[in-house]
């Protein structure tokens, strides 16, 4: 039996750390990387008698998320205690939301398989969300360097998390990764999470099962704590193969929680359903129900930035970009902001060449330098002038690349019109003077009789070689379209 006889069913639970300055129930700082326990207040270490006080900023971020995914922002939600013992869980319970979460429903639409073709060509996928709820993070147990004992660092304890739970709507690891990437971009876009996966600010748990098409849902296993998209893909792929092999070998899948080992690329069992905790959830009597008044929601709504979905639709419908371009340019808020600013300066008629430049030379340079596009030394306004000069024929596209390099290296300074300054200083203006171009062509033809003979013998390639020679002789400044036309006329004439 082959892989294609099975349907894969995946649901994701993502823990997004909210970027509040202080913790969800205490005033301690949430900054990453401090010495152990220096950011653990009396509330965070659960001294006798201390009480939680909800951080409004965390709630506001949850509202923003709910509005961004078209979910119901619950007018009333309830914090509950999830009870279990662990040394890095100081109270012996985690404050979370259970029966009444703050965000209910919503959808995320993503493109899967972008850049592929044929049967695997890109398609749009909409994933339903079950809920998103607020909760506090636990601390960390440190098992090294304590002379046989374990250390506890409670700096992370009480850090606000939004746990975002999807329906089991994804049918491949590619869909899961596309969803996770879109979600990751969204939480950064609406500025509720820094998205730093190395620091654990965005962690995925994947619920994976397989079934025969049309059959009821299979038994799922949950892969915990995947902190990169690559691991997410690898872990799901391994898990799917393992589940199929297990069933085809006559085995049964037992509900379990598993861990992914990036070194071996395999998942291994952490605990079975039998070992599952009874968390004894009940409403936390230390916290009142969370009431979100319509006015609060309306204010957050009024402060929302344009969302990637809306921006993408605008790029396609109003600016005439392809779905691929629009998707790429809205992949992150930084790229979208840069692109929008470029078009704002260059004008909407230049939206397409601006897109090519942002996705092409700018992206390549930024990636090579491993920097964020928002710190690009070439500003959107400078880029807009450059694109304008290419489009209006002042310089050729190839010279444009040269000017871009110069801009990137700081030539021309910060001035918006730096591109013009470079063009003038280096004499890069395109030559549109037919007489001058013809003179160059005559020189080139005279010096390259061999190529002329080859062209006349039917070798089309020779034509390109001659164009190249003419461009070279003009130091790239000859208008390439004109060169083509004039050269053709001369050779045929």
């Amino acid at each position: 039996m082959s892989r294609s006889d099975w349907e894969v069913v995946i649901g994701l639970e993502v823990h997004a750390q909210l970027n509040t300055a202080s913790k969800i129930f205490s005033g301690a700082s949430t900054a990453f990387g401090a010495a152990p326990n220096v950011q653990a207040s009396a509330v965070d270490i659960a001294l006798p008698g201390v009480l939680p006080v909800l951080n409004r900023g965390a709630v506001e971020r949850a509202i923003r998320f709910g509005l961004a995914i078209g979910a119901t922002v619950a007018p009333k939600s309830v914090f509950a205690r999830k009870n279990y013992f662990y040394p890095d869980l100081p109270k012996g319970y985690q404050i979370s939301q259970f029966e009444l979460p703050v965000v209910q429903g919503g959808t995320i639409t993503t493109r899967v398989g972008e850049g592929l073709s044929g049967e695997n060509r890109a398609y749009e996928k909409t994933v339903q969300l079950t809920r998103a709820h607020l909760e506090e993070d636990a601390g960390k147990s440190l098992h090294e360097d304590f002379h046989g004992m374990s250390g506890i660092d409670l700096n992370r304890a009480g850090t606000p998390l939004l746990e975002i739970v999807s329906e089991p709507d994804m049918r491949s690891s590619a869909e899961a990764v596309a969803y996770a990437r879109t979600l990751h971009a969204l939480v950064r876009w609406i500025d509720i999470c820094d998205g730093n996966m190395q620091e654990g600010s965005f962690r995925c748990d994947a619920n994976v099962s397989v079934r025969r098409p049309g059959a009821p849902l299979g038994t799922r296993r949950e892969i915990k704590n995947l902190n990169s998209f690559r691991f997410l893909q690898q872990a799901i792929d391994f898990e799917v193969q393992w589940q199929i092999a297990t069933i085809e070998d006559g085995g049964k899948i037992q509900q379990a929680t598993v861990l992914f080992d990036p070194d071996t690329g395999e998942t291994r069992m952490m605990r079975s359903k039998e070992d599952a905790h009874d968390y004894r959830y009940f409403p936390d009597p230390d916290l009142l129900p969370l009431v979100i008044a319509p006015e609060w929601k309306a204010r957050v709504q009024s402060e929302m930035p344009e969302l990637p979905g809306a921006m993408k639709a605008r790029f396609i419908e109003q600016w005439g970009l392809s779905a691929y371009d629009a998707t790429t340019l809205t992949a992150s808020k930084e790229i979208a902001t840069f692109y929008q600013a470029t078009v704002d300066a260059a004008g909407v008629p230049l939206a397409k060449p601006c897109a090519n430049w942002v996705m092409g030379d700018v992206a390549a340079r930024v990636n090579k330098a491993e920097m964020d596009i928002s710190s690009s030394p070439v500003s959107p306004a400078q880029l807009a002038v450059l694109v304008t000069r290419i489009t209006d024929g002042t310089i050729s596209n190839n010279i444009g690349k040269k000017v871009f390099e110069a801009l990137w290296n700081g030539e021309g300074g910060k001035d918006i019109n730096a591109a013009d300054a470079i063009i003038e200083a280096q004499g890069l203006r395109q030559t549109n003077d037919a007489g001058a171009i013809e003179a160059i062509i005559d020189e080139v033809l005279a010096a390259n009789q061999k190529s002329v003979d080859e062209f006349r013998a039917g070798k089309d390639k020779a034509f390109n070689a001659l164009v190249g020679q003419v461009m070279k002789a003009s130091k790239g400044k000859a208008n390439p379209a004109q060169v083509n036309e004039l050269l053709k006329r001369k050779l045929e004439g």
Partner: protein, 488 residues
């Protein structure tokens, strides 16, 4: 000075007839002399008290004294006190020195009150007799073979024996009112949310409420005024303007009928079977006195009150089982000396650190919250809670305050109910419904039963009726002398 009211102490301090240091020394010496017999204090903080008294004297000299500046008091050991042992009556916290002050402690410190020390209590405030303390039972000053009630038994006994003029307590199911009744002092539990729970070690968060003990309603009013008020660190603290609970104490112009127009509701269910004869007799006499003062009485009904105990013994243990999870031996408190692994460290530390009643309630609470039982127990209990609260609202449509017994009996012998938890639980039958509804209530002395043991009368008010309750009890105390009696 030992028996002086707060008004008298205030006047003496302000007139420099006595200094705060002298007053503190007087009570500290009394504690030294009498505490061995009563066991009302777990910790006596002589140095801290004298330092606070010196500061209070300076403040009085500077003319900036507040009503409690220089007045000695005792804190129930459930309140965290910075730099002072805070045990909650448990072996689990027998080594815990709090690094911070509870909100109540901080308020009273700021008011210039002088804390003499920390009073004994049932472990984690679970109990009705003070026999559940790791530090041994508290003895009733009226008869040291008897219990003082609980869980704030140490505070009640300390005030009754005049080891402190006033004391703080907490009341989750009657833990201020019942020991007040059994030791012949006045004790008030305000509306839930009036006193901040920050730094008050939690037993059952939705029921716990700080309260005040004094020899009289007037003394309680002064103490409560200084303890109460909004605290942003407690999300269940009520955001209301601060109140002066003494404001209604001054007698109205009705002469010898100051309570004219007051309708006292008498719940039929409270005056049915179960109340001891001597308690009933004292209560009847007290109600006559109230009528003499101009009040009228009307029968009311609290049909669901009988369900208060079962509801309470689901909700309180459920919350407690979770609240007490933090006592795991990891960060502070008792940790077993030897263990093989993490699970054993937890098990042994908690098995050794908690007493029998605490373990019983953790087990009950864990059970009622378990998967498959939650709906049948916890949710049902929450429904009962709403019904009980509705009963009170219906009753308050007919009356201004509700009166009845605080405890079905006077103080019983130490050990008498120690092996029968259900009998022990039933001793809170009149007080528990008030906590479930979140209402204010007080207990004041109203006579003596067999063996010269004090009887308490409970007054229950509608939400935020503290000032009225205190004024009502105050009028009674102006006309009677029960609250002036002292154990021999």
């Amino acid at each position: 000075m030992i028996n002086a009211s707060l008004t008298e102490l205030r006047a003496a301090l302000d007139a420099k007839r006595v200094s705060s240091v002298e007053l503190a020394t007087l009570f500290l010496d009394r504690i030294e002399r009498h505490n061995p017999a009563l066991n009302a204090f777990i910790t006596v903080d002589r140095d801290g008290a004298l330092a606070a008294a010196r500061a209070a004297d300076a403040r009085i000299a500077a003319g900036t004294a507040a009503p409690l500046t220089g007045i000695p008091l005792a804190h129930k050991d459930v309140f965290c006190t910075e730099g002072v042992l805070t045990t909650c009556g448990s072996k689990m916290l027998s080594n815990f020195v709090s690094p911070y002050d509870a909100h109540v402690v901080a308020l009273l410190k700021a008011a210039g009150a002088v804390s003499l020390g920390k009073t004994n209590m049932d472990e984690f405030a679970m109990g009705s007799s003070n026999e559940n303390s790791h530090f041994g039972p508290v003895k009733n000053p009226w008869d040291t073979t008897r219990v003082p009630g609980g869980s704030s038994g140490g505070s009640a006994a300390a005030v009754a024996a005049r080891l402190a003029p006033i004391a703080t307590g907490t009341d989750t199911g009657g833990s201020v009112r019942q020991p007040a009744a059994l030791t012949g002092v006045t004790g008030i539990k305000p509306t839930y949310g009036v006193v901040s729970r920050y730094g008050m070690i939690a037993y059952a968060s939705s029921l716990d409420q700080g309260g005040a003990f004094g020899a009289s309603a007037a003394d309680c009013a002064v103490l409560l005024s200084a303890m109460a008020g909004f605290d942003q660190r407690d999300s269940t603290s009520l955001e209301r303007p601060a109140e002066d609970y003494t404001r209604e104490l001054a007698a109205p112009a009705a002469g010898d009928k100051p309570l004219t127009g007051l309708r006292i509701g008498l719940p039929r269910e409270f005056f049915a079977e179960g109340m001891a004869d001597d308690v009933r007799a004292a209560l009847d006499t007290a109600l006559d006195a109230y009528r003499q003062l101009g009040a009228s009485t009307v029968e009311v009904s609290l049909p669901n009150a009988k369900l208060a105990i079962p509801a309470y013994y689901v909700i309180a243990p459920a919350e407690a089982s979770s609240n007490l999870s933090r006592f795991d031996g990891v960060r502070y408190g008792h940790r077993a000396a030897e263990y093989r692994d993490l699970a054993e460290m937890y098990a042994k530390s908690r098995a050794e650190g908690f007493g029998a009643e605490v373990k019983r309630r953790i087990l009950v609470g864990t059970y009622v919250l378990s998967h498959g039982y939650y709906d049948a127990y916890y949710l049902q209990a929450q429904k009962l809670r709403r019904l009980i609260a509705q009963d009170f609202q219906a009753a308050f449509a007919q009356c201004d305050v509700i009166a009845g017994p605080t405890s079905p009996t006077t103080a019983w012998a130490i050990g008498e109910k120690a092996d029968d938890p259900v009998q022990m639980y039933l001793s809170d039958i009149y007080t528990i419904a008030v906590n479930l509804a979140g209402l204010p209530a007080l207990s004041h002395p109203c006579g003596f039963g067999a063996g010269n043991l004090p009887v308490g009368l409970q007054l229950i008010g509608d939400y935020f009726a503290e000032a009225r309750l205190l004024a009502t009890a105050h009028q009674y105390q102006q006309a009677t002398e029960w609250h002036l009696r002292r154990p021999g």
